[in-house]
Subunit: 512 residues, 2 copies
């Protein structure tokens, strides 16, 4: 009896493995035959600057994506909101005869700002190049291979958005191109939705979804964004944290002053900023703002069980990233990023440091924060708590440059502004379509188990799909975890392109 | 009897006034006749970049100064140290027949680094221009006047070192040019000493003085550097604070990390820097480092009396500079800058702020401090206290980029470096030659009293003149207080050129 069950299980594993092998082998073969043109085209895509807010550059990207889709046989359309004020979404659809299910694939084509001087020597954000390994590990630049020459899957493609998130856009389209070229008829309707304002906080996504509600009906959104786990294992993610950006500037004298001639007397806004920031978080990683953790809804039992099944990559990554102690004392990596809100300094500045430093008292000091939210947190709630804390520290909050009158009246003046933020979102791990997609993705896994992650640490405004369309999303990350996304030296491991195409092909073919 | 004394006093005042009037009128007349060429030449001088450490540019400045001196009939020489490792001093001398006193006039020709992007629109650090008023008060750029057109003494000359300290170099030379052109024979030996490494902490000044000890024998050094008081009154200063620069960098992960995917887990060096800096000074301006004030030698009774005679400009400047409360609670401006050491943040940085900010956890955070010293403080003493404090806060101090081993071993790593610092110096207000110079300077004052300041807030390594040459210095500041020295938008009020020449002429003619 026991033996029979065992044999049956082995048989089932055999079928699954065969199916996996066949998808993987076929896509492999097609990819290997076409690698030169697939990668060349990707380089071309990465050469188009895509800093968020730059309308002209972004419309060049949109045009490029439309052409990609058209060449894969997909009818395209640009979607805007009612007022036509958004950077448009590039939309495409392929309706399957008699299909009763629709899956929408999402990625975004805009990127974070770049400061080219911070990139490693020889790297330019919008001139993609191959490097043999990570630049900080001694990788060397190499020429793009001639046709017929070998590509090494360990190579990295360096350039802004190589990982975040042109990789998402490109692998989704190339996965569909494979299906079409192979003559496979999808058994679900497939829709493509490529946003151009994600790095800007998706400020118009809601009005776009609202304006195209009918067209965007679906059973599930599949989001292709964010990094795979450090182990390199394939993963499905059921949620995201929310995010708010806050910009603060503290004012000293109207102009920088000589630190000798005015030192001890003129107020130093850098010192004030240091004291204010220090008051917000202790050296065990705990945020000291009143009520900061009050709204948090803890993980459900199902989510906590799923998390417990994942090997925590903290120790491994810590060695590789080079630090001796994590910020939050007593919490694992997975707890830190899934179940707790953050208050993080993105950047801080006052006058100059290094060779440009002068003996002065700076006139202003600035800091940019981001606050990640988990389920339960609201944007308004967290911002209000932060503002109350700043006021408690003796500051008068202003929303413009201070007037002479304000300078005279208040000892501590702070400019405070926020970019539209958004809350966290979590899809239930028991959602039926989510289960179908997880199973479909599992088919592209060679061996071992797909990682099922209750929430990523990163953010996307996925709550909008629930709010406007009453549809839940899941996320399939496809890029290497060490991609330097949002920072200088962003890069994509070449192997991620092929594996990403395999994952998405598998979902498109098996999501019925 | 009383009446006779009174008459005698009136008579003496009359003589003094007559003498003042005559010097002032004669220099006025000469300056007004030659203003176009005097100012043109100064613009030419300011066009030569002079960032400290830039050997090539500094040697162009030295050559320019030598030519200026030669054209005023002064024999010149470049002085270096024994090892020939310094940026040379431009030296000149005029020996007076039978003179038994020698005065050396000092200024420096190197400047602080520039960050052109921080300068106001239309201003370039090394393209001097006339602006009708301070740029932040709405001053407008105007063309350089044609020959015969009027110059307005309220105009500002914008450019790096327009105030600090090419103004010193230039007015000293032009004062002597006036004397020579007027056929006046000086009755003291006059020497010129223009340093090229002051902004670099005068790292070779000691070895230069040592190497040219004989040539540099004198009765007094007259230092022409730093700003006049905000009242615009003429001043003689008997001392300076010392100065130390400290460069610190705190390390997080080896590379910037996505603030969502790693937030709460990866250590944030900006938060650490904020906490470290906050631990150094409280919000009443008190430095919290153990023993920071222990060595301070308070002002003498004579110095305190002199200070009490000066109207404190704090309240007036505070209104103009636009802040409601000074940094140190309960101390006047004059106390703050003369009698207390400082710990000041010159600059602070971590990743980017403003539009370039990304949603990241910075990899490093840096700060530059300067510590001003007063009499009694030693460089070693203050630096040791600072380092002990940093260690007490849990940091391992390193002097290079951290190794992988160090990253693994220490939770808190800080790079710490200092530029050679130097102590404070104060010349006794009863020094006989100092009294002669003060009297000589008084003659260039139209009315009212010369301000006698025991110490400036700024720094110069004047202790070296005492240490190496056993000679004391006094300082005669000639530039407007609101000159933005060391920062962007440095400027000189045109009237300071003429008044500076008058002051120095008066000293050169009357210092016997």
């Amino acid at each position: 009896m026991c033996k029979q069950v065992f044999t049956a299980i082995l048989f089932l594993i055999g079928i699954l493995n065969l199916e996996s092998q066949s998808i993987n082998q076929n896509v492999d073969q097609w990819y290997n035959q076409n690698e030169h043109s697939i990668v060349s085209k990707y380089f071309e895509f990465l050469s188009i600057p895509n800093t968020y807010n730059d309308k002209d550059d972004l419309s060049k990207n949109a045009l490029f994506i439309e052409n990609l889709l058209k060449s894969a046989g997909v009818a395209t359309q640009l979607l805007n909101n009612k007022d036509q004020t958004a950077i448009p979404v590039v939309y495409g659809e392929v309706l399957a005869l008699g299909a009763d299910k629709t899956i929408i694939f999402y990625a975004h084509y805009d990127g974070q700002p770049v400061n080219p001087t911070q990139w490693a020597t020889g790297l330019e954000p919008f001139t993609p190049v191959f490097i043999t390994d990570r630049v900080d590990l001694g990788g060397k630049k190499i020429d793009f291979p001639e046709i017929g020459q070998r590509f090494n899957p360990e190579w990295r493609i360096y350039g802004r958005s190589s990982a975040d998130d042109k990789a998402g856009v490109y692998t989704i389209i190339e996965a569909y191109r494979y299906i079409r070229n192979a003559g496979i008829k999808p058994n679900v309707n497939i829709k493509f939705f490529f946003e151009g304002e994600e790095e800007r906080g998706s400020i118009n996504l809601e009005s776009i979804l609202e304006h195209h509600k009918e067209k965007l009906r679906s059973d599930m959104w599949v989001i292709c964004d964010g990094p795979m786990p450090a182990s390199g294992k394939k993963q499905i993610t059921y949620g995201v944290r929310g995010d708010i950006n806050v910009y603060m500037t503290i004012f000293g004298a109207k102009r920088p002053l000589h630190s000798g001639n005015y030192g001890n007397w003129a107020p130093n806004p850098a010192h004030k900023m240091a004291r204010l920031l220090a008051s917000m978080k202790d050296d065990e990683g705990k945020v000291l703002i009143d009520g900061f953790y009050d709204d948090v809804i803890p993980l459900s039992e199902e989510e906590r069980n799923a998390l417990n099944k994942i090997e925590d990559p903290g120790a491994m990554m810590q060695g590789e990233l080079g630090f001796a102690a994590s910020e939050t004392v007593g919490k694992t990596f997975l707890e830190c990023i899934t179940s707790m809100p953050t208050l993080n300094i993105n950047g801080m500045s006052a006058a100059n440091t290094g060779k440009l430093a002068g003996n002065i008292i700076p006139a202003t000091a600035s800091a940019v924060l981001d606050l990640r939210l988990v389920k339960g947190n609201t944007v308004q709630g967290q911002v209000t708590r932060l503002k109350k804390h700043i006021e408690k520290m003796g500051y008068k909050i202003i929303e413009n440059e201070p007037t002479d009158e304000e300078r005279k009246q208040y000892s501590n003046l702070i400019y405070f502004a926020m970019k539209d933020g958004y809350p966290a979102q979590r899809t239930s791990m028991s959602h039926p379509t989510a289960k179908v997609i997880a199973d479909a993705l599992q088919k592209s896994v060679y061996d071992g188990e797909l990682i099922q992650m209750p929430s990523s640490g990163g953010s996307l405004p996925l709550y909008l799909f629930e709010k406007v369309l009453q549809t839940s999303p899941v996320t399939i990350p496809i890029v290497n975890y060490d991609n330097n996304q949002h920072a200088e030296n962003e890069n994509l491991k070449l192997s991620c392109l092929k594996e990403g195409i395999k994952s998405l092909t598998s979902v498109m073919m098996n999501a019925k």
